[in-house]
Amino acid sequence: MKGLPLVKIKNGEKHYLKLTQNQRVQHMFIMVTFILLVATGFPLKFHFYPWAKPMIEMFGGLHVTRFIHRVCGVIMVGQFFYHWYYLFKNMAINYIIPAKKTGTFSWGEFGRFVYYSPMCPRKKDAQDIAAFIKYALFISDDMPKHERFHWREKFDYWAVFWGIPVLGITGIFLWFPVWATSFLPGWAVNISYIAHSDEAMLAVSVIFIWHMYNAHVNYDKFPMSPLFLTGYMPEHLMKHEYYMEWARINRIVEKDPSRLLDLDKEKDAEMLTNQEKMELIREQIEFMKESTTGGKYNKGGSHHE
């Protein structure tokens, strides 16, 4: 089997691969640091609300929240740089190196490779948005047939891609204002302050409402989608929301059945058949009988003689 199984069958339902383990870990890093950054940053932004002070005190005071905020900020920016590395690595191992090795590299094809990579916004997304609006406004009954990541996910992805540099750069100016003003005018720190806090507000309103709605609170995923934990999506959701991706994976699995992992079958294989069970049980009863009635296993074994 090459790579992770694309489809797992468990409890009679197919589950389709959507996030690799690496992607799940990346998401986890972003998620945890984001929550901590918000929890330590928002009491400062909304210092005039009554919940602000108890929240700071819950963490143990300003010294602690400041430390947590900075550590999480550094981890999140580190994650951003790792993601760039991850993108280039994938370009190299999935197109550039194999294409060069086989002598078939062309820039045109490389462009197409990037264009059709899962997160690249392309024409299909514009069509999907148009189709969604038609659907939402009762003009048509057909929901758009999405690929691996639909336009909402791409929007979230690129929002983070823009948000982290804005928050990271302004954040480092606020952390080291003396250094920042050694090459920038004083008002740069003032606008960093505004930008940092407003961009955070934008990120929070998008993540906590829009992203949560799409990923978990949505009518067909409520109360929680297992995707961010398992990386797999059950077939009924996959077919409903990512029809193209569902069809694409099915095609691969049809061609190469080794990409399918049937956990139910494996479980069945590990379990004893009824006949095997009965054989085992009868044999054991036989053994117990022999040993208590002084049979062949008991001879010469006793100290009482």
Partner: protein, 350 residues
């Protein structure tokens, strides 16, 4: 009004203050003022409608910084008992005590002079609106504080030396009722910065947080803009020694009474001096002129701070735009799924 203020402060002090020791010397009441003022209920409603307390707790007063001053030392207009309504106390009055190092009568006139030189004087050249009644006098910021001796954090006083032990040493040579206790209190009271950061901000906020005052004097709300900075938030959330108003507005080595306009070249906040104020102990190191130009009282005002205004506007438009767009799509979708087969096309076809 101000007498009322002074007395409320004294009354508040009576209620909330703490005493670290009992000084044995209660000021003798030669003038017999306590004949009436010892009664806690002594009060009346003033012409302006305020309830004015005239009660004086003599034990409390004995521990205050003015304990050596007789009542008529400040209330100079009172010559007889019973007296008429007393005039507002003038702190530059020469009172009946003499200074320890010379035989000169003591007075706060030096401080009053400093205040006259500051922006808090109505005649200062940089004052925008000359409304005399809005300008502070001594009692707008100061109460009659009680002496406090705090062994915590006073690094050079040995932990074991409590006030009583120190007094024991003094009493070897000095008479029991001698003034060493007074001078001990006088000095130790000043060793530590007793005003917590919040109190300083509160004092200045009495006037500088009022929008009506700011408008009258063509200023901005200095307190609310300060509270929006990290400095203000640090004070608000109880960070010790967080920078307050006077940390930036008072020049190093000068009296807090001499706060100047940022337009006067001697001021701590003058554009060329400003960064030096940031270099205080435990504050920012190696600051540059540009660092001093980071604005600490930002108001979102198109004419005053255009860059901040446009950045804030851009982010507000972006945030609200994104938020309402996505919310709209969400609501549309949620409505749509309630009626899965209700499109216009179907109606036309069917």
């Amino acid at each position: 009004m101000r007498i009322f203020f002074l007395f409320t402060i004294m009354a508040a002090g009576i209620l909330f203050g703490t005493l670290s020791a009992h000084a044995s010397s209660i000021v003798p009441d030669d003038e017999n003022c306590m004949m009436c003022h010892k009664y806690p209920g002594l009060s009346r409603v003033s012409d302006e409608g305020y309830l004015r307390q005239f009660y004086v707790d003599s034990d409390r007063y004995a521990h205050s910084v003015h304990t050596k001053v007789k009542c008529t030392g400040c209330h100079v207009d009172i010559k007889e008992i019973p007296h008429k309504e007393a005039k507002i106390v003038d702190c530059s009055t020469e009172c009946h005590i003499t200074m320890g190092d010379s035989a000169k009568p003591f007075s706060h006139s030096k401080i009053v002079e400093e205040l006259k030189g500051s922006i808090h004087n109505v005649d200062n050249e940089h004052v925008n609106a000359r409304i005399a009644e809005d300008f502070p006098t001594c009692t707008d910021c100061h109460s009659n504080p009680t002496y406090r001796f705090i062994t915590d954090d006073v690094r050079d006083v040995h932990d074991a030396r409590t006030q009583d032990k120190i007094f024991q040493k003094c009493s070897v040579c000095h008479d029991q009722d001698a003034s060493y206790k007074y001078y001990f209190n006088h000095v130790t009271h000043r060793i530590k910065n007793l005003s917590a950061s919040e109190d300083v901000v509160k004092t200045c906020s009495k006037c500088h947080s009022r929008d009506d005052m700011a408008e009258k004097h063509k200023l901005k709300n200095a307190a609310s803009t300060y509270l929006d900075t990290f400095h203000g938030k640090a004070v608000e959330f109880g960070m010790e020694n967080a920078p307050t108003c006077i940390d930036c507005h008072v020049r190093d080595g000068q009296s807090v009474h001499k706060i100047l306009s940022h337009k006067s070249p001697d001021s701590a906040t003058y554009v060329e001096n400003r960064y030096k104020s940031c270099e205080g102990e435990g504050c920012h190191a190696n600051t540059t002129r540009e660092f001093g130009l980071i604005r600490m009282h930002v108001v979102i005002d198109k004419d005053l701070y255009p860059v901040e205004f446009w950045v804030a506007l851009a982010f507000t438009v972006l945030t609200l735009g994104v938020f309402f767009l996505l919310q709209g799509l969400m609501v549309l979708e949620l409505i749509r799924i309630m009626f899965p087969n209700l499109s216009f096309r179907r109606k036309r076809n069917g």
